[in-house]
């Protein structure tokens, strides 16, 4: 069949046209995505620490407040960037990130290596009123994080069970102990614990 007569069929048959669009548009995704989904991550999993109950709570607050619209978590392998932020980011470090938080805009600095860069107290002041420590900052303040209890940020037991279902290695004891670990803390405490762990959880040999 010549190309033209095949095309005439498509132009006149809606079923074929729908199928044609679906077929042609799915090729790229299949080639690019499927190999990644089949990658072996067992080596990475051995060397990466899963998020603790408190860190996970902090991370979900980070997502809720949309910190990722202004902050990336992806240090690129460029001299200036390694100088400014620290070692560049590797795939192994993100295997427990659901969703990924690499971001697409740096209105504020990259945060992937921010763990340990500032004291907890600095963060506590900065998050509530950034201009108290960085006078010209354009980052918003988050006063409500200091008022709300960490237990208000979602049901931690259900969250850890959901993640365990997806393959995160939480034991029954981990999950049972979780609510107790949030007791008496504010949301801001959980967020700071998360920020302080960023970029520090991978202990293995770095590949590449």
């Amino acid at each position: 069949m010549s190309g033209l007569s095949l095309h005439k069929k498509l132009e006149e048959n809606i079923g074929l046209l729908i199928f044609g669009i679906l077929f042609v548009s799915s090729l790229g995704g299949l080639v690019q995505i499927l190999p990644l989904l089949n990658q072996d991550m067992t080596e990475a999993a051995k060397n990466t620490r899963v998020y603790s109950a408190l860190e996970l709570t902090g991370r979900d607050i980070y997502i809720r407040e949309g910190c990722s619209v202004c902050h990336s978590q992806q240090v690129r392998p460029l001299i200036a960037e390694i100088e400014r932020y620290g070692p560049y980011s590797r795939a192994e470090e993100f295997i427990y990130d659901r969703p990924f938080l690499w971001g697409s805009k740096r209105t504020g600095p990259d945060l992937h290596r921010v763990g340990g860069k500032f004291s907890d107290d600095w963060h506590r002041v900065h998050l509530v009123d950034p201009r108290a420590v960085v006078s010209e900052s354009i980052m918003p303040g988050y006063p409500w994080l200091a008022r709300r209890n960490a237990t208000q940020a979602g049901n931690i037991v259900a969250k850890m069970r959901g993640l365990r279902y997806l393959g995160h290695p939480y034991s029954d004891e981990d999950i049972e102990a979780a609510p107790g670990q949030l007791e008496g803390l504010k949301e801001i405490d959980a967020l700071i614990v998360y920020l302080q762990r960023l970029g520090t959880a991978y202990t293995g040999e770095r590949s590449q």
Partner: protein, 479 residues
């Protein structure tokens, strides 16, 4: 035998969708202006969580894309698919359901974003209950659209329907795959993909949401309304067909250009570069096709604001699809990535192309739907200049901001130390952000003028009843 037909087109639902679209445009652009102001005066969120930048920004993008964008695309698709098929809408009640259910999804979804319910994946922020609702409405949209085509009286399926069709099919595929997640409560779920995999899936979605919603759907609009408005057939039908398949094939591969220098495999990034360059061809083919279509009707451009908007939108489409492939080159992306340059690129497409082609279409369509002249051609002409000025100013401001950010962040001195601190670079952005605020206000002002103009045109009037015209047997389904 001439097929005599007593049925009439369903246009009331089209009017309703256009009204919703205009409302969303004003709301979401107002949010955009507020965001611009927050980047200059960060304390104007007054310590209120729902005014906080991180929550308002997704409201801007979702309100624009899904409120303004999809309502307009749905309305114009319903209008044009009836005319090109010579039948009334298939399942008109379902069309009404799509119209109202969609508004409900966008409204409640918007509120949920302010409440902090978000997946954080760009343009797919809405949580799982909304993802399910979107899927249902989208399938109904598909049934109405493809059902109308399936019952058509004209043999050939016109090119605009292919573009609208690709919007419906590909967005459905992307949305479902990217949104797969395990719910842990009504307001929270975890993606089934993690880390680098999640990144690749998300930008496969994100880039093609741009590709098939902000480009494919609007090309459908262009391919129907531009020839109508110019009173000329499309310049080269064959070119439009080739451009279509090249567009559907190559767009899908380009997503990883959003992930240059990141922790995803090199070959995926390189493939995306090649495909992004190739994308220039189908993009410019459609632009050239559109411009050549008007090339014998230039005199209309002097008097007709609707045509002016559509032709200008093609110029900005050409600009954005030239800039895009350049930014996909790793050597350019190293500077532009993470900066306001991206924001400038986005809005050259968003304001210059998406918004303007929609405005032109509305100015053409609304008077026609109620059978009167536009309330004020003068206001529409003023709107044209406001839109052009606002867009240019926005892009220029963001180019300035983006290029200087990108270069200053990367600059190191002779002994290998960083030349500038992040804070200093951040502080130097204020003038650019102020310029962008002005640009946004100008653009929003124009949009409000249009809202008033269309409101006055529609006020107290009902849709004119249009009978389905007889079909020339030479083009009929049974010929």
């Amino acid at each position: 035998m001439i097929d005599v037909n007593n049925s009439t087109y369903h246009d009331k639902v089209v009017i309703r969708l256009i009204q919703f679209s205009v409302i969303w445009a004003v709301v979401a652009m107002t949010v955009g202006v507020y965001l611009s102001a927050e980047l200059i005066w960060p304390t104007i969120d007054f310590g209120q969580f729902w005014l906080s930048f991180g929550r308002l920004r997704p409201l801007h993008t979702n309100g624009i894309l899904f409120g303004f964008g999809v309502s307009a695309l749905m309305g114009t698709a319903f209008y044009s698919v009836q005319r090109t098929s010579h039948v009334p809408l298939f399942a008109p009640k379902l069309a009404w359901f799509c119209c109202f259910a969609w508004q409900l999804v966008v409204l409640t979804g918007g509120i949920s974003l302010l409440g902090g319910m978000t997946s954080s994946k760009e343009y797919a922020e809405l949580e799982w209950p909304f993802d399910i609702a979107i899927t249902i409405v989208w399938v109904c949209f598909g049934i109405v659209f493809f059902g109308t085509i399936a019952t058509r009286k004209i043999k050939q399926i016109y090119i605009s329907n292919w573009f609208y069709g690709s919007l419906i099919i590909v967005i459905a595929m992307l949305h479902i795959v990217n949104s797969l997640a395990i719910p842990v409560s009504l307001t929270k779920s975890y993606s089934i993909y993690a880390g680098a995999q999640d990144a690749v899936v998300q930008w496969w979605y994100g880039h093609n949401a741009v590709g098939f919603l902000m480009t494919g759907g609007y090309l459908g609009m262009m391919y129907y309304f531009l020839p109508k408005q110019a009173g000329r057939p499309i310049w080269s039908y064959r070119l439009s067909v080739v451009a279509f398949w090249a567009f559907v094939y190559s767009y899908i591969w380009a997503g990883p250009h959003h992930l240059h220098f990141s922790a995803i495999p090199e070959w995926v990034q390189s493939l995306a570069v090649v495909m992004s360059i190739i994308l220039l061809l189908p993009s410019w083919a459609s632009m050239i096709n559109g411009i050549m279509t008007v090339s014998t009707a230039w005199e209309k451009l002097k008097t007709d604001p609707a045509l002016k908007f559509i032709v200008l939108s093609l110029a900005f489409y050409g600009l954005a699809t030239f800039e895009g492939p350049m930014m996909a080159l790793r050597s350019v992306n190293v500077v532009s990535h993470f900066t306001d340059w991206t924001i400038g690129h986005v809005h050259s497409g968003a304001l210059g192309w998406n918004a303007m082609v929609t405005y032109g279409t509305f100015y053409f369509l609304v008077p026609r739907l109620v059978g009167v002249e536009l309330h004020s051609v003068r206001l529409a002409n003023i709107h044209f200049w406001l839109a052009l000025a606002g867009t240019m100013l926005y892009i220029i401001a963001m180019w300035g901001a983006g290029v200087s950010q990108g270069l200053l962040w990367l600059s190191i001195d002779e002994i290998g130390e960083l030349s500038f601190s992040f804070k200093d670079i951040m502080s130097s952005m204020t003038p650019y952000y102020a310029l962008r605020l002005v640009a946004g206000l100008i653009f929003l002002g124009g949009t409000v003028l249009m809202a008033y103009n269309l409101f006055m045109t529609l006020k107290g009037r009902d849709a004119v009843v249009v009978k389905v015209p007889p079909v020339d047997p030479a083009y009929g389904v049974n010929s």
